[in-house]
Symmetry: C2
Subunit: 335 residues, 2 copies
DNA sequence: GGACAATATGGGATCGATCTCACATCGGAG
DNA sequence: CTCCGATGTGAGATCGATCCCATATTGTCC
């Protein structure tokens, strides 16, 4: 592998001058610049990234830790991250925390130790205090995505869960539904809380309160959607629409309804949340609230990249809008 | 950030001795070892990964370039890669090539320049020759996953596409189907060819040939599944089963059948390939050939990690088995 | 013509580790 | 008692870049 010294010898100049040409800063005469560029081309020289990073303390690498890159949701988010980082000419390194604090800690420390210029975090729980200290000591800017805040974060990007849930319930109300069920997720997730508030706001617009609908608490999982729906049907609870806390639940809801012989949307309307990968494959194709996951990732990465340029700036926050995606699972309320 | 020199001063020893303790090699007296370990703990010392990599020429990092990490398929594969690399205490850096040769080239060179110890590749086309040369010059071992071979690869991991397709068609034949349609993917993909051979083998077992079934060539996409199926129905082609080249196609097939008023599996049986993320969400839940994507990734990463230990070893190859997943979309042939 | 800023170039310290080599000490074998 | 291998330690070169500083060489203005 050719080094900067090889180039300098071949071009008959000093290391310093080559460095100036490569980094494109400082004064270099046109003549030498050309000679150096030629030498670089002839030798196929590419600077040693490690040495550059070690000396300059800039690695041109962005790190990210998300809950689990193996899921379509986070994969899509990573897609957004890559888009932004690639545009800025920076490399991206992604790890999974698997919702385990120790695993998360290890992943973050790994990124710090590899001298990432900045770090993006999407975690389910607060970052361990000793890790916060490590990040702070390394003076690495952090942008949080989604749920958890963090004292060390210089910025955050969040979904408008409130507005999304409000839009979902408003849509059901507009279609004439009044006997509504809401299946909500883990009670200690910020998402869940914000979505419940959105539900309440939509009801209020129609002069209703939470007591006018049925809320069932559970978890963001297909099985919960199935069991909760089955139970409501068994109990003889009379409802015309279900707002599922997310599309996984909605998949379970649809299955339970089908098994009970109910047809969607003529007997019961169903609306989900996320516009997950499988939403269009459900039957009927699911009407849902789209969460632009890749855009969230891209926005967060862009925010971080901007933060790198301005060391002392104030913390910022961006809220990403949702969008109602109308497919076939919601219809007018039966009488 | 504490450096090795800080540790050595605090423990009253030389840099070299600290290095020996950290790397756990060479001779160090128990007494000094303890003093050094204490100093490390007190200072919260973590070695500078960049400096280590620069000097020792080992980065403890594995690189991977796949077609697109944003899709569930590759996300799942990355999950397998992470499992293996984390177990080996190595970091993983993943990029997408987006089926674009220049983009791929950039991604691979990036990994080479960051001194990855080894590289994993899942690409749709052959690697650009100049990139092959760069990999060779850097003497970085490469393991290929899936489709394309590559002269520089020291190993490869592939799915048993032949066996999978054979199992799919055999299953249909066992259920009494004889009027079978096969929708196949891009003709220039190795996967497609191998699957076609598998189909042929299954037919041969039952004394049949390819002329006894109908093969429609297209691409691995839901829309093709939909249009091809609709066209066959319009033409009045009489069939009792469809083997879709992958689950995306199968989703389109199911949709087209439903729109044509056919019920699955009583009118037509459908079997897919991949056991993609959405297979269980389709209606009816799709019977398909499972491709253990994460296992493929894990196997490839393990192979690469092993290769790192033994520089001169011969190229190796592993074939990963598929598995028939029986759900509800295949039934006995109607008469 | 001298002062000073702008342009141009190279020398050498530095980043934080690894690793070779030289050297010291010790114990046991011959 | 000497020799030698095993054990223990440190000095210093090195990896491949960046970047500060010293030193020319210009050109321009008063």
């Amino acid at each position: 592998m050719a080094t900067i010294d090889d180039v300098s010898k071949r071009a008959g100049v000093s290391r310093s001058t080559v460095s100036r040409v490569v980094a494109d800063n400082g004064y270099v005469s046109e003549e030498k610049r050309r000679a150096i560029q030629q030498a670089i081309a002839e030798l196929g020289y590419r600077p040693n990234t490690l040495a550059q990073a070690l000396r300059s303390n800039r690695s041109n690498m962005i790190g990210a830790v998300v809950v689990d890159v193996g899921t379509p949701y986070f994969a899509n988010m990573v897609y957004g991250l890559q888009r932004a980082t690639r545009r800025a000419g920076k490399a991206l390194m992604v790890s999974s925390g698997y919702a385990d604090q120790d695993e998360e800690a290890r992943a973050i420390i790994e990124l710090v130790d590899r001298s990432c210029d900045g770090i993006l975090l999407y975690l389910e729980r607060p970052v361990r205090p000793d890790v916060v200290e490590i990040i702070r000591a390394a003076r690495i800017p952090v942008v949080m995505i989604g749920r958890m805040g963090c004292e060390v974060a210089r910025g955050s990007v969040q979904l408008d869960n409130f507005g999304g849930a409000r839009a979902a319930v408003t849509f059901l109300l507009q279609q004439g539904h009044r006997r509504i069920v809401h299946l909500s997720g883990q009670a200690d997730f910020g998402d869940t809380v914000a979505r419940l508030e959105g539900v309440e706001a939509a009801l209020r617009d129609y002069g209703l309160t939470m007591t006018d609908i049925r809320v069932v608490n559970g978890i963001f999982h297909q099985d919960f959607g199935y069991s909760a729906t089955s139970k409501l049907l068994d109990e003889g609870h009379d409802f015309t629409a279900i707002f599922a806390g997310d599309d996984d639940m909605a998949a379970g809801v649809l299955l339970a309804l089908r098994h009970a012989g109910k047809s969607v949307p003529s007997d019961v309307s169903v609306i989900g949340f996320d516009d997950a990968f499988h939403a269009r494959h459900l039957w009927p194709p699911l009407t849902t609230i789209r969460q632009p996951v890749d855009e969230i990732g891209e926005t967060a990465a862009d925010m971080l990249l901007q933060l790198l340029g301005e060391p002392g700036s104030a913390a910022r926050q961006t809220i990403i809008d949702t969008e109602l995606v109308v497919r076939d699972s919601v219809g007018p309320a039966r009488h």
